[in-house]
Amino acid sequence: MNTAIEFENISKQYRLGLVSTQTLSHDLNRWWKTNILGKEDPYLKIGDVNDRATKGSSDYVWALKDINFKVDQGDVLGIIGKNGAGKSTLLKILSKVTAPSTGIIRAKGRIASLLEVGTGFHPEMTGRENIYMNGAIMGMTKAEITRKLDEIVDFSGVERYIDTPAKRYSSGMTVRLGFAIAAHLDPEILVVDEVLAVGDAEFQKKAIGKMQDVARGEGRTVLFVSHNMPAVQTLCTKGIILKNGMVSFSGGVHEAIKNYLDDSSYDTEQVNAQVKIINKALSISKLTINDLETNKIMFDYGENILKVGIEGEVEIPFNMSVEIMLYDDTETLVAMYSPTHLIGHTHNLKAGKYKIEENICFPSTLCNGDYYLSVRLSQMNIEHVAEINKLVKIIVNKNISPDTGVGFDKSYYGNFILNGK
């Protein structure tokens, strides 16, 4: 496979805090050491790991530290990570908006970046004028744009507004037009950062489709940054996880997402840590799964019954209904258990201590993968009282057909296997 982009020891250092006389003295020192004495930059030797939540000792942080990886031609690479992990910095370096502190990137072909598309639009100019403007900013010639104008307008779906100044556009329309321009740029490498957030469902689908075409049909390389895991999963073939400015995982997209979500919500947190009380008249003191205080459970092949127990105290009587949601590892709702709506069952709690138990029956056809249970307590038809997010992680890994020995993995078969009659 041909390598399209190669990142070699890419690091990026930033200075925290305000620009002041102290930064001036550092700058002068740096200038003296590097330009006059010909030594190395003294500030490149120091610097903390970029963890935004902890207090550090140095004024310098490494937004990126020793990033090394290669992207093959035709790959769609998803870059995932928490806020401040260095995703956008990486893309900014790749799109030459800012230079790296150390290291080198080698790439083949034209790089087009969609870092928040439509930001280059001039509000006073019409959509048509902005197409030319934006196209030219991204390196197209006038002739090229004229040739693709109809296609761009058509793809964007804002034809009616094309001769209206861009300031009259809705934010979604701006993104539509911006994306349409970039998508028709025909770059060898397309860099996309969180653009889909503003578009509506129809457009998101269209955009993802277009990116897939670009990658699969035309053999171009796409780098995609998003927090939208289902989008990453559908679009990407490979994934890397950035954590505190370093690559913590690199591989297939399914493993990457799994790894990331595992890491982001399940490292040390206790079951109780995810409880959100909305009505303060209720408290929760104990949560049990199958009578155990656990946050992980494995399912074998066959039907599985899960007993969810909630204990606590209420100050006033409640007519409580329980809803239990099953999410998959892309945080998509898979199924729901709602006895109130199914059979009209609620719990009549009197003031004082309470204990609720629900037995949920999971079908044998649930495919192999990771799932999460969340619970919502509500006072029937009045308000939500409490939410328990990610009460338990359910790992299904033994759904193997006894007849054929085939393992039903979620990434291939979906969430459920359908039975025949």
Binding site: K92, T98, P100, K108, E116, T119, M125, M133
Partner: protein
């Protein structure tokens, strides 16, 4: 397929990619067009503002400097004399003010996408040229009017230097502008000082008075200002008054060339990482 792009921490000092700038020439022309058409959008008078601005300034100068202060105009009609100075100086000052804030005003777009940053100040200088051309028309109208009513003006061959004079003005403003812009991305102190300097600079340039009003032994101080020779040459060529010397003009030209060279090198160095400090 070979690697076509290399992204490194630092470029060599004199590594300016002129070929890349040439490849983006369509962007340059679009920027120029944008600057011109968006300037007076949503105004009723529209492009006639191009005329109204210098006309009002001229009237104001006539009242303040001609009327109240009574400064000499070398025996020329006041409107003609002031307009000549204003057209030249305004071009220089407009270009300078705009190019000197290239990085700070364009940080939103510079932060999203890469293109050769030098395109922006270059297009500013070019779009102001159109504006200056229109104002030059106003000057010509006034000029013809005075010719008809029989005022004695003595245009001469040096008027053919006009394109060269404008070129020097453009180069000077671009050079100063991009140096200031590069120096003010991180420490803004200079930009505050600078707006103040530009407004004073006009008085150190023979815009509202002729160089000849200065005592002859002090004129060399004025001539250190590279803009002086250009404006004097303009007045000399079109109206036959003022001081013209090839020596002073070559000084201005030389000044411009050195300034541009320094400017482009500094700008090119700063543009690579200015997003981190702006």
């Amino acid at each position: 397929m070979e690697y076509t792009t290399e992204i490194k921490p630092k470029n060599k000092l004199f590594e300016v990619d002129f070929k890349e700038i040439w490849n983006y020439r369509d962007l340059f022309s679009l920027f120029v067009k944008r600057d011109i058409i968006t300037q007076y959008k949503q105004t009723i008078l529209g492009p006639s503002w191009f005329f109204i601005q210098p006309a009002l300034t001229t009237i104001m100068y006539m009242v303040v400097f001609g009327g109240i202060a009574g400064i000499s105009t070398d025996n020329l009609p006041e409107p003609m004399f002031y307009l000549a100075g204003i057209v030249c100086w305004q071009y220089f000052a407009d270009c300078l003010n705009k190019t000197s804030s290239t990085f700070t005003t364009n940080q939103a777009i510079f932060g999203k996408v890469y293109f050769p940053r030098l395109i922006v100040p270059l297009s500013t200088v070019a779009s102001n040229l159109v504006r200056m051309g229109i104002q030059l028309l106003l000057f010509i109208f006034v000029y013809i009017y005075y010719l008809i009513i029989g005022v004695k003006v003595a245009p001469n061959m040096y008027v053919l230097l006009l394109p060269f004079l404008i070129f020097i003005l453009a180069g000077l403003s671009l050079g100063f502008g991009i140096i200031i812009s590069s120096m003010t991305t991180k420490y803004r102190d200079l930009s505050i000082l600078f707006t103040f300097i530009v407004s004073l600079w006009m008085y150190a340039t023979p815009v509202i008075y002729p160089l000849s009003t200065m005592p002859a032994n002090k004129q060399w101080i004025m001539a250190l200002n590279p803009v002086t020779a250009v404006i004097e040459a303009f007045k000399y060529g079109t109206m036959g008054v003022g001081t013209f010397s090839w020596g002073m003009l070559s000084y201005s030209f030389g000044f411009m060339v050195v300034l541009m060279a320094i400017g482009i090198v500094v700008f090119n160095k700063v543009q690579r990482s200015f997003m981190d400090t702006v």
